[in-house]
Symmetry: none
Subunit: 191 residues, 2 copies
């Protein structure tokens, strides 16, 4: 038993546990029994039982059959992605990235009401754009943040400490990082 197996086992356990819980939750929401779901998915009860209890490492075909039987998209069974970070009520998910000129990263940021994130400076020459999709937030350089509402956007140099703060409702925003040297700080109100 070497390290590789050890690592695999640990990883596997976490994923399996999350998947198992999701399946169990979805099944109960649909109000069907484990036996019934196994029958619908055309897999054995024992297999489904071990998957739901988290002591399994199911194959893709088995999972697919379960998703199909539950009538949910496959991704519904999976844990949150690696690129999805959750800290103190703020979730950041990488949507898209490009290695062009400039290099770009696009994130979907979700903030629970009144949550705050203080971000350390990025490298010199990083421009950050924030476009508010839902709610109201205060965002920008820590020294002079601006209040934005739905549809508004801000751009600022990412190389200084900056802040994201949701007001008293849930907030969604698209955050775009441009990696190249510039110095623009402006705010644009669309509506």
């Amino acid at each position: 038993m070497n390290n590789i197996y050890k690592v695999c086992d640990i990883m596997n356990n976490n994923i399996s546990k999350i998947i198992g819980e999701k399946i169990s939750k979805l099944r109960k929401e649909k109000g069907i029994s484990l036996s019934k779901l196994a029958e619908l998915a055309k897999i054995s009860k024992s297999t489904l039982s071990s998957i739901e209890s988290g002591n399994a490492n199911p194959t893709i075909s088995t999972l697919w059959a379960i998703a199909d039987a539950l009538n949910v998209p496959f991704g519904e069974l999976l844990p949150k992605e690696f690129n999805e970070v959750d800290e103190s009520g703020i979730t950041v998910k990488l949507i898209e990235q490009s290695e062009g000129k400039p290099k770009i990263e696009v994130y979907l940021m979700k903030l629970e009401p009144n949550s705050v994130r203080e971000a350390k400076p990025h490298k010199k020459g990083v421009i950050e754009k924030v476009l508010v999709i839902k709610g109201k937030m205060v965002v920008g350089s820590k020294s002079s943040p601006k209040c934005l509402k739905v549809g508004e956007e801000i751009e600022f140099c990412g190389d200084v400490p900056h802040i994201y703060k949701a007001l008293d409702e849930e907030v969604s925003a698209i955050v775009v990082l441009y990696y190249f040297p510039m110095e623009i700080v402006k705010i644009k109100s669309l509506f």
Copy 2:
């Protein structure tokens, strides 16, 4: 849901084939050999070989290890989800939606080189914003579309026929739909 794929893909090919092709494609894009990827993912060459060739039914832990080694989110290896529409080289995926005022929908649009999409008018009072993340594209109302490159964005009334056209490289763009009555058409160049 998955029924669609069951009918369209799985009956003929199968999930394994699709997954195998995706992994192979992603690996070649990264420019690494099968042997190297197997090493990175800490799985055997033979396993990876059979997965890529479509003659396998991998476990979730194996797939997870491969996604991790490729440095892509797990979902990247899977067939497209239900919210992802593919037509003539253009993929549109719903990223986020909000029922606020205005109602907003955010999409990630990916266009293969030289692909074109002509969209029918939305309802009156829909404003559409397009932010280019990668490549160059021609976008806007069909009568007066504009050419945008990375970092540039356009807003236009969605209630007229409009067009999305990639130039000779792959294009990614964030598309935001605002559902409320207004009449703005403007273009803003950031860089």
